[in-house]
């Protein structure tokens, strides 16, 4: 029984989530957001427990779950994102009578993602996927009276259900051909699958299922609409957290279980990576809503990470894994900045429309110097400018791409980074050079704390990357068995 303690982070979060749900009954609508502190403490405890178990390598529940460097790494990603989102949401949910549900759903979605990270069996993986998806569907539509939020949730739900169906279809083919749903078991029996055209069908179906979460083109179309319409804190969760769930699932299923079929999916991922990053960056240029721009930028970022699948050397996987961590901090941070700007705009003018419009970023350096500086670091990090986390991850990922001989792929990726600089620089230009439309105001504390934490993450990984690279390497080793 002792090793069930390995699931302590999940157990803690489950208990905290249930406690919040119950406690919500006893709070008035004006102070329900206090429950956010409880969620934050729970997440922090889970983070410490996960870091404490970083070196474990064991399986649980008849081999359906595994605790290894990869799962722990991704759990840290998920918990960190949720923690940042939770801290910021303490302000966002102020005075909202559904705050208890908000935090409960947030924790449940985190647990779902953590289950996916640990899944060693396709059924477990699917269950985790659905837990996270269903919770986030509800969260995306949290602003019940906002039609845009409703639209966001509905689109996300419909496309999400389709993808789940496709994923299940793929899983059933894999199961049919190999006779098992266990990931190591599939890897052992993948011979028949690899030699049959069914293998290709299964791969296509699974890419469609995971690609939806990863927001790879053409499965990305829900993402801009959803990220834009959803509450900004939830956009951060979707872009930085739930997107990574697709990646960890794909890492386990493709790189471990379906390694024998790699000729099938490596080319597919290379093509998807190129289309995804190019399309994401080109379309991002035209956006005037910062939220939507970040959504497309996050599509483009998924394209970069997908390179790891196309290259599939230990170093490339290290880069891909590290990239997910870096992206978690940069993207969460950037979305939280959008959230705090939205707060600023609404406090200027109650009836403001288009609160995520680029014009609202004018003169931000004067109005909120800390936020503006953080945003500058985040967008430069997203475009891969040093010394930031974004640069470090790109460096490792692209250098391994070149080393493996896929020079064209790396060159396209780097040209894409240069292209993206154009729209990121525009945000900085608006913040630092254009005149402000109001006086200096101070950020609400929870937002400020979350933004500073994200900023610290981006800069620490950029300046002292060694421990992160080391753990990313350990995680990649799990995949290369």
């Amino acid at each position: 029984m002792a090793n069930y303690m390995l699931l302590a982070p999940e157990l803690v979060l489950t208990l905290v989530a249930l406690a919040i749900m119950l406690a919500g009954l006893f709070f008035g609508p004006n102070n329900k957001n206090i429950l956010g502190y409880v969620a934050g403490v729970g997440l922090f405890a889970a983070l410490c427990l996960t870091i404490g178990g970083l070196t474990v390598n064991e399986t649980l529940f008849y081999g359906t779950m595994t605790i290894d460097a990869l799962s722990q790494f991704f759990k840290i990603v998920f918990i960190s994102v949720s923690l940042l989102v939770t801290i910021a949401s303490i302000k966002y949910t102020e005075g909202n009578k559904n705050a208890d549900e908000f935090f409960t759903l947030l924790l449940f979605s985190t647990i779902g993602m953590m289950v996916v990270a640990s899944a060693n069996d396709l059924i477990t993986l699917f269950v985790g996927f659905e837990l996270a998806s269903l919770s986030t569907y509800a969260l995306a539509g949290f602003e019940k009276n906002n039609p845009k939020s409703m639209e966001a949730a509905l689109k996300y739900f419909i496309i999400g259900s389709l993808s789940s169906a496709l994923m299940l279809f793929g899983i059933s083919f894999v199961y049919g051909m190999t006779g098992t749903t266990s990931i190591p078991g599939i890897a052992e029996n993948a011979g028949a699958l690899a030699s049959s055209p069914i293998g290709l069908i299964a791969v296509v179906m699974l890419i469609a299922g995971f690609g939806f979460k990863m927001a790879l083109v053409p499965f990305h179309m829900w993402a801009p609409d959803t990220y834009q319409g959803a509450p900004t804190v939830i956009s951060a969760l979707l872009a930085a957290g739930s997107k990574k769930m697709g990646f960890v699932a794909a890492f386990r299923v493709f790189v471990v279980a379906l390694a024998l079929l790699s000729p099938n999916w490596q080319t597919a991922f290379a093509i998807l990576a190129v289309i995804t990053m190019t399309l994401g960056n080109v379309v991002a240029i035209s956006q005037t809503s910062v939220k939507r721009m970040l959504a497309y930028s996050s599509v483009a970022q998924a394209g970069y990470i997908a390179i790891a699948f196309a290259v599939m050397t230990p170093m490339a996987l290290t880069g891909g894994v590290l990239y997910t961590l870096s992206h978690a901090f940069m993207k969460t941070g950037a979305f939280l900045v959008v959230a705090v700007v939205g707060y600023m705009v609404v406090s200027d003018n109650k009836n403001a429309k288009d609160i995520d419009h680029l014009d609202n970023f004018k003169g931000l350096a004067k109005r909120m110097p800390l936020t503006a500086f953080a945003m500058m670091v985040f967008v430069f990090a997203l475009s891969g400018i040093p010394p930031t986390a974004g640069y470090m991850s790109k460096f490792i990922l692209f250098s391994s791409t070149i080393e493996s001989g896929l020079v064209w792929l790396a060159v396209i990726a780097i040209l894409n980074s240069a292209l993206s600089l154009y729209y990121y620089a525009r945000i900085v230009k608006y913040m630092y050079f254009l005149p402000a439309s109001g006086g200096k105001i101070s950020e609400p504390k929870p937002y400020a704390v979350a933004i500073i934490l994200a900023l610290a993450g981006v800069l620490i990984i950029g300046i002292w990357p060694e421990p992160f690279v080391y753990w990313a390497m350990e995680a990649a080793k799990v995949l290369m068995v």
């Binding site: 290709l200 050079f433 990357p465 060694e466």
Partner: protein
């Protein structure tokens, strides 16, 4: 303190000083500039402390562990080359920051100004002392960002914002391209460490023979050219002149634009000695030198003249570093290095003068200026020294390095042979002629000639000492280096050249070196230069007219077109691929799947459809009837008008599925299906009353056809896949039923196997199902309840 620590401190101190600025501002207030000067001076002294070692011919290197997982250190390499640029960055930094104390009004946001200047200085020093490509790139991009912030310092001017953005987009993306080149370089050599490559002949020859040699060189060179405003990338530099003048003097003439030159010099031993190097580096340099020198004529803003002049002078440097042959890879290296130093002195001096003139006369337009020699005698003398040195007049330092330039041009021409023997020196002279003409124009236009009283303020005078002394000091250096060339040559040029060529170098530069061919070229330059100068205004007018008629010639025109159209084109693209309806989104996903599954079947001829179908035709009549009804219900659900009938058809379909389950002897499954179907129908009905009851959608024929095609295609794809799955490609599994038959009595004590499975073997599963149903029922109750409350 050893040398390594001194250099490391020199890299990080500027960042620390910059971080201290907000605090220091409380103490120093309007004198914050002197705090920054003290910082820069400290850095200068730290580098000077290491200088004797390097002048002696040694190098300083070392590193501390930074990213061991990928074999990267934070490492420092100091040789003559890095020392030269390090001196420029800190020394000119001291001069510029002192000058800024007079130039910048105290109403300005001074802490921000000095903070970014110090950050820039730190990045520049970090860049030149970096021993590995990755670290070099990091500081390289930092210089781009700090330059961006400094160009945009005056936030209220749209031009300065335009200039800032342009410089960032071009230099930082150039840097990213260079980064690709660095990654290629390290994949060829297996190391990021520059000195390792420089000192290893086997690695260098491996690079020369590699199939990506040209690609690597080109990518790295693009980064250098973008930074140093060479070739088509020059367009950002004139716009960068919107920065405060001390910034222009510091970043955009003396230091940052030298970063590209630095890089070219740094990789010189790796790539030189090849045709590619000559054509790429020297070719770009010569084209830039001539074109930019020529375009300077058109400019009316004195800073713009200086900007074009800087581009042209950087072209000289590129050209000289590009001179190479297989036997003598570094023909122009010594000349280039000396000119690099000289250019930094006279050009910074001229920029400071431009700042003084703008400050005192309130204009930088050369058409409005004139005749200031009497009112500003000292400024006039300083400006003349700087401009004459640029023109190459003896005994100033510009003369000496230009002589060396001509000398190396002759040598290079002779080395390749006809027609280059004449062509290369001729191009060099042409560049010299243009330089001569605009240098004279600067003196003539500002200080000589008539005073335009209606355009200028009444009283103009020399500025105070804070602004005059830095400029005068630079002018003093110009004369000193000209009269006593052995000082800079021995202390700076020789070690730098040695650092680039990796061998011991002794140079003999004298003011009078006899009647050499290069001296005749110089005299020829002066004569032609004077002739060209007599037609200066006519040429400028012709350029203006030409530009009006053929605007497509200008690179700026294309830059603006691309940038301005980028958003509208991107908008068009996004309108096509992201129309916003869920139907399109789903069609895209489904279409992709159809395509990906059909391609292997049709194109690759994969054996996916079984040749013989092996159906078990023991189908009872009920089954056929049920299935027929199911098909009818499905079709009805799609074509019935209105939601209510469609929902009823859909639930009919669901109930028939559960009947099928009963027939297939799965009563538990059937039961669940009936319950789920009932609940979902109720929820459907409750929700449906809230929305309009009729379909009002009108679908065009093309849309209908498209949707039909996609539906049929996806249905047939799924059909094929299912046929495939049932036809024995998938091996049948062993049935589980015998396990339950054997164990249901012994383990669970029940005779009814189905019951035992439901309540015992799968007890938790059943519990879960029950909870789900309860929750769903609660939801239904809530829906009904809330409706009755509303009424």
């Amino acid at each position: 303190m050893d040398s390594f620590n001194a250099i490391a401190l020199a890299i990080f101190l500027p960042f620390i000083f910059a971080g201290l600025i907000p605090l220091a501002n409380k103490v120093f207030k309007q004198y914050i500039g002197w705090f920054a000067v003290a910082g820069a001076l400290t850095i200068f002294l730290l580098i000077a402390k290491v200088a004797p070692i390097i002048i002696h011919g040694d190098t300083v290197s070392g590193g501390v562990s930074w990213l061991p997982s990928v074999g990267l250190e934070f490492s420092i390499y100091a040789d003559g080359l890095s020392m030269l640029i390090g001196f420029l960055a800190s020394g000119i930094g001291v001069i510029i920051m002192s000058y800024s104390n007079g130039y910048m009004s105290q109403k300005e946001d001074l802490p921000r100004y000095y903070k970014w200047l110090l950050l820039f200085m730190g990045s520049m020093i970090g860049m030149v002392f970096s021993a590995n490509t990755i670290q070099l790139f990091i500081f390289w991009e930092l210089t781009s960002i700090t330059s961006f912030m400094l160009i945009g310092y005056w936030r209220n001017k749209p031009e300065s914002i335009y200039g800032a953005t342009k410089s960032l987009v071009l230099t930082a993306s150039g840097g990213l391209v260079m980064f690709a080149g660095f990654l290629l370089l390290s994949s060829i050599t297996g190391t990021f460490d520059i000195p390792t490559i420089l000192h290893s002949e086997s690695l260098i020859s491996a690079i020369h023979e590699h199939k990506f040699f040209l690609l690597t060189l080109t990518l790295i060179f693009i980064g250098a050219a973008a930074k140093s405003a060479q070739g088509p990338f020059y367009v950002w530099l004139p716009n960068a002149m919107e920065a405060p003048t001390p910034v222009s003097a510091f970043l955009h003439s003396a230091t940052m634009v030298k970063a590209g030159i630095y890089l070219v010099a740094r990789i010189h031993p790796i790539f030189s000695g090849t045709d590619a190097w000559f054509y790429l580096v020297a070719g770009t340099g010569m084209a830039t030198m001539v074109v930019a020198g020529f375009l300077a004529f058109r400019q009316t803003d004195i800073k713009a003249i200086l900007a074009y002049s800087t581009i042209s002078q950087l072209g000289y440097l590129m050209t000289m570093y590009g001179y190479t042959t297989q036997h003598e890879p570094g023909i122009g290296v010594a000349a280039a290095t000396f000119h690099l130093l000289n250019h930094a002195t006279f050009k910074a001096c001229l920029f400071l003068v431009a700042g003084i003139v703008a400050h005192e006369a309130s204009t930088r337009d050369i058409r409005k200026l004139g005749g200031l020699r009497r009112e500003m005698p000292i400024t006039f003398i300083i400006a003349s020294i700087g401009a004459l040195s640029m023109a190459g007049i003896p005994p100033l330092n510009g003369f000496l390095s230009k002589e060396m330039f001509y000398e190396s041009s002759i040598e290079m021409g002779a080395a390749i042979g006809s027609p280059y023997t004449i062509l290369i020196p001729a191009i060099a002279v042409l560049g010299g002629v243009f330089t001569f003409a605009y240098s004279i124009k600067l003196i003539d236009g500002i200080f000589l000639g008539k005073r335009h009283d209606d355009e200028l303020p009444n009283h103009i005078h020399d500025p105070g000492a804070t602004m005059l002394i830095p400029a005068a000091f630079l002018a003093f250096l110009v004369i000193l280096f000209g009269l006593v060339p052995s000082i800079p040559v021995h202390n700076i040029v020789e070690p730098t050249t040695a650092g680039i060529l990796l061998e011991h170098v002794e140079l003999h530069v004298k003011l009078w070196h006899g009647f050499t061919p290069s001296l005749f070229m110089t005299m020829f330059t002066f004569i032609i230069g004077l002739l060209v100068y007599s037609k200066y205004d006519a040429i400028a007018t012709w350029q203006d007219r030409f530009n009006e008629r053929h605007s497509a010639v200008s690179i700026n025109y294309h830059y603006d077109a691309v940038v301005n159209n980028a958003r509208s084109s991107a908008h068009k693209i996004s309108a096509i691929i992201q129309p916003g309806t869920v139907k399109t989104y789903m069609s895209a996903v489904l279409a992709l799947i159809v395509v990906l599954v059909f391609i292997p079947i049709v194109l690759l001829g994969a054996n996916i459809i079984p040749h013989t179908l092996n159906f078990n035709f023991n189908i009872a009549p009920y089954e056929i009837l049920l299935m027929l009804l199911m098909v009818i219900a499905a079709i009805a659900a799609t074509i019935l008008p209105g939601y209510l009938p469609a929902i009823i058809a859909l639930s009919a379909l669901g109930y028939m599925v559960s009947m099928l389950f009963i027939y297939l002897k799965a009563p538990d499954l059937a039961l669940t299906q009936v319950l789920v179907e009932t609940l979902s129908t109720i929820i459907f009905l409750l929700a449906i009353v809230k929305i309009p009851q009729k379909f009002k959608e009108t679908i065009s024929k093309t849309t209908f056809a498209r949707d039909a095609i996609i539906s049929v295609a996806i249905a047939s794809t799924v059909f094929i896949m299912l046929i495939n799955a049932t036809q024995g490609i998938v091996s049948p599994f062993e049935s589980l039923s015998h396990y339950f038959i054997e164990n249901s009595l012994s383990l669970a004590g029940g005779h009814n196997i189905v019951n035992v499975i439901i309540v015992d073997f799968r007890g938790y599963d059943t519990l879960g199902e029950i909870s789900v149903l309860c929750l769903a029922a609660l939801g239904v109750y809530n829906l009904i309840h809330s409706r009755s409350e509303e009424k």
